[in-house]
């Protein structure tokens, strides 16, 4: 618990959507997965914006809200963070920028993609945790795991 002092020790997976995803669907995604926001990826896999709760509440006030998609409401500035700074510094960055989520945006092969996120939710869980056991689903080692290994095929019986 006290050992988790750097951003990389508390990050969670970043969730993405397409530019054409309707705002109602994004709202359902955020509620179902307790997210602050999602990153919008274009067809080439480039991160082009972010849709957070703030963008959705802005969309809520528009008369055409039933027809709006991620592309219409997204913020084109994706707030990013380095994995090796202290949590307190990341918390201050969020408050200074007026955002509730930051993304780790590494570059590979000319593409900048959202690899992980640190949001108010992870920080609240950190504050609330009675022991490190409550946070085992967070951190760079968890996020880095590629895909769950498929179950081994059943062995032929004797």
């Amino acid at each position: 618990m006290s050992a988790r002092t750097l951003v990389r020790e508390l990050i969670g997976p970043a969730v993405t959507c397409a530019p054409g995803t309707p705002v109602a669907e994004i709202a359902r995604l955020l509620l179902a997965r307790d997210l602050e926001g999602v990153v919008v990826l274009n067809e080439d896999g480039h991160a082009v914006g972010v849709v957070g709760q703030d963008e959705l509440v802005a969309a809520y006030g528009r008369p055409d809200r039933d027809r709006l998609t991620a592309e219409d409401v997204m913020n084109e500035t994706i707030p990013h963070v380095r994995p090796d700074i202290p949590l307190a510094a990341a918390a201050q960055i969020m408050r200074d920028l007026g955002v509730r989520m930051l993304f780790l945006m590494p570059q590979r092969g000319g593409i900048t993609y959202p690899a992980a996120t640190l949001s108010y939710r992870e920080l609240l869980r950190h504050l609330a945790a009675r022991s490190d056991d409550e946070l085992t689903d967070l951190g760079i080692n968890v996020v880095r795991q590629p895909f769950p290994r498929p179950p081994a095929p059943p062995r032929p019986g004797p």
Partner: protein, 177 residues
């Protein structure tokens, strides 16, 4: 999208509160357990003296030992309020302009101002997300909720059951004739 136009149609009646000496760790647990944006701080006479939201909790990271700080140390010393009879669209705009993720509706009675209901960003998201009005059945002033008398009866019955259960699980040995 469903036909709900005013704040009172979407707000949650009932507000969680904490005492001024509740710690950051306790409040963070409370917010996570109940999916809340913030709680009202009540002093020992029941007066609302401030608000602790997720924003204040994250601000606690600027201290050496954030978890041990108390509500009194980090709270904002006011309660963001909106009236229940303005349009939801106006409320959404006001909240964004003010940077409030949650607002409260206060009820005045016998010289004390009680927090009666709340409206947060989460409510707007649920309204956007709802496929039918049935998904919002727990929200708004018309939502079915228990009266104070029903809550009292429920607690009383639970206490009775617990007492009876405790007696049943430790039976006194009887002598057979």
């Amino acid at each position: 999208m469903t036909q709900r136009h005013l704040v009172r149609d979407l707000m949650t009646v009932g507000v969680l509160t904490c005492t001024p000496d509740a710690t950051v760790a306790e409040i963070a647990r409370l917010l996570l357990e109940h999916d809340l944006e913030g709680v009202i701080v009540l002093d020992h006479e029941g007066h609302a003296v401030g608000t602790v939201t997720q924003h204040e909790l994250i601000g606690a990271y600027q201290h050496e030992t954030p978890r041990a700080l108390t509500a009194a140390a980090i709270m904002r010393e006011d309660v963001p309020e909106l009236p229940p009879d303005i349009p939801l669209i106006a409320a959404a705009g006001l909240m964004r302009d003010q940077g409030w993720r949650v607002v409260f509706l206060m009820h005045n009675a016998t010289g004390i101002s009680y927090p009666a209901a709340q409206l947060s960003y989460r409510h707007f998201l649920r309204h956007l997300a709802a496929r039918s009005d049935a998904e919002l059945a727990d929200l708004g002033i018309r939502a079915a909720r228990q009266s104070p008398m029903q809550l009292y009866a429920q607690k009383r019955d639970a206490a009775r059951r617990q007492r009876l259960g405790a007696e049943a699980s430790t039976p006194t040995p009887r002598e057979r004739p």
